[in-house]
């Protein structure tokens, strides 16, 4: 771009430009270099003097920033929480109804299958006149399944804006689940990493606190490949390392909103180190490489979640 026009060029002809029009010039414009815009606006006859210029500029920048902020907030964490819960509801209901369809279908067709697969097959067939009722139900199952997929796509699109770091570290869906379990991005950001580690394992955690069960090593973050693909004996460490990074990610997302690719690299490195010690004797360790988290002032809670 080699434009050298000021933001006001677009509204030059319209002295009663609306806030929206002013905001658009601030938000969408660009220039290769700056200039004495107040003087140029006066020269161009857009305003009578500098004072008037700054009044107009204040109106324009306020409107532009307000619009941009509102737009970004519309895609906020509460929308995500609704979306992920609705997605789970759709999936659960689809599964439940699919069982009903299979049971019902079995009375009409000895070769009836099971689950959502069967509902899908039934819905795509030409309906047998005797089976319109069960076919219609099967169609609903398929619709619910599609709705769940659409919600999943919405989450994948929205998460990177709402929580770029969490989204990159955990993946959009798991990240959204964590936000949902914590009750919001802010509350997730305020939780110690030991709590994040066992979010979704509340039953096991309370059984442990009542004193008749081992402490859970992980909650929903088990869904993360970094935990699931780590061999059993080191899974607690992997979960702890992951939870630590996820907490940092959630905090950066909430308090700054800036994407930090280095977090992902640090997590990958840490998980590799943990996996590499499989087979070695447990060295009680990893405290050294937690220095990064410590330096950021993050309390690296063990969460009582190590083995035994």
């Amino acid at each position: 771009m080699t434009t050298t026009a000021g933001w006001f060029a677009a509204v030059a002809s319209d002295s009663d430009a609306s806030d929206d029009a002013l905001a658009a010039t601030i938000r969408e414009g660009a220039a290769s270099e700056s200039d004495s815009w107040p003087a140029r606006a006066v020269d161009a006859g857009i305003v009578d003097d500098e004072n008037e210029y700054y009044d107009l500029l204040h109106r324009a920048t306020m409107a532009a920033t307000r619009a941009a902020v509102t737009e970004r907030e519309r895609a906020d964490d509460s929308q995500l929480i609704h979306a992920i819960r609705a997605m789970d509801d759709c999936q659960r209901t689809a599964n439940e109804l699919a069982e009903r369809v299979a049971e019902w279908g079995g009375t009409l067709d000895p070769d009836a299958g099971t689950g959502i697969e069967y509902a899908r097959a039934l819905a795509s067939d030409d309906p047998d006149p005797d089976e319109t009722a069960v076919t219609s139900l099967a169609e609903q199952v398929v619709e619910l399944e599609k709705e769940a997929e659409r919600l999943g796509e919405y989450i994948e699109q929205t998460m990177p804006t709402v929580a770029p770091n969490l989204s990159a570290l955990a993946g959009p869906v798991l990240g959204a689940r964590l936000i949902s379990l914590a009750g919001g991005l802010e509350s997730l950001a305020k939780k110690p990493s030991g709590t994040v580690q066992v979010l979704g394992a509340e039953d096991a955690l309370f059984a442990h606190l009542r004193g008749h069960a081992p402490s859970p090593k992980h909650g929903i973050i088990y869904m993360h490949d970094g935990v699931r693909r780590t061999p059993m004996e080191n899974r607690g460490s992997a979960a702890r390392a992951l939870a630590g990074k996820l907490s940092i990610g959630a905090r950066v997302d909430h308090y700054s909103g800036e994407y930090r690719p280095d977090l992902e690299a640090e997590l990958t490195e840490r998980l590799e180190t943990i996996r590499a010690r499989t087979g070695d004797e447990y060295n009680g360790g990893g405290e050294g490489s937690d220095a990064v988290a410590d330096a950021d002032g993050v309390d690296d809670t063990d969460g009582g979640a190590d083995d035994e």
Partner: protein
């Protein structure tokens, strides 16, 4: 100075305060203060808002008596305005103040600070991409204040130098941890100083001072265009 009887009797060593910034008795303590609408629940007495150097790097620079060159009434470009804590004080004693912030959440608070300050212009823009606001921010601003917590803080200062008047000042707070948490802050600071002064269209550094009394692992740099 023009402040006359309003000035507290015991003026401490430093008196290089910009006009519009005073040391005042607030809640029984002598504190830096500016006059304006309250923004973030800061203590206030007679319309004077306490300016907490622990919450503001520029506040710390002034508190520590750096030769910031501020006189009051300057045109300011503030990079990394966040929720407007510091920039609201800056706007209280400066002329037109452009506040660039990248993250929408703090920008919401910045908006309310700008509401009552007709010469504070909030911009939701990325300080690493000056071309996205060069059509708004005027040339030859007298002061650039920079407090951005990203990597490449020296580059941000260099890229925004185009806005600064030849005899203007850069007041830069470098956060070592934003560059690299694992390195010794002194090494990070050395690199930043080096990068700022390396080229002929860079900066000449006038003064540096660690802000550790108020902000851990931060270095204040006062510079002017080379």
């Amino acid at each position: 100075m023009l402040m006359g009887s309003t000035i507290p009797t015991e003026v401490p060593t430093m008196s290089n305060l910009p006009q519009g910034v005073e040391r005042r008795q607030i809640d029984g303590e002598e504190r830096l203060a500016t006059r304006g609408e309250p923004v973030y629940g800061e203590p206030i007495e007679d319309e004077w808002r306490a300016w907490d150097p622990h919450r503001s790097k520029l506040g710390a620079m002034i508190e520590l008596g750096l030769d910031h060159g501020l006189e009051g009434g300057e045109t300011v470009l503030y990079l990394g305005a966040a929720s407007g804590t510091t920039v609201s004080h800056v706007a209280d004693f400066s002329g037109p103040t452009y506040a660039v912030e990248f993250a929408p959440r703090p920008a919401r608070d910045l908006l309310s600070a700008a509401e009552s300050r007709p010469r504070l212009f909030p911009l939701l823009k990325d300080a690493r991409k000056p071309e996205t606001y060069a059509h708004v921010v005027e040339s030859d601003v007298e002061v650039i204040v920079q407090d951005v917590a990203t990597r490449g803080q020296a580059r941000v200062a260099l890229e925004n130098r185009q806005f600064l008047a030849e005899d203007g000042r850069l007041l830069l707070a470098v956060k070592a941890r934003s560059e690299d948490v694992t390195r010794d802050p002194e090494d990070v600071f050395a690199d930043v100083r080096e990068e700022l002064t390396a080229s002929s269209d860079g900066y000449e550094i006038l003064e540096t001072e660690r802000l550790d009394d108020y902000h851990t692992d931060h270095l204040a740099i006062v510079a002017r265009p080379q």
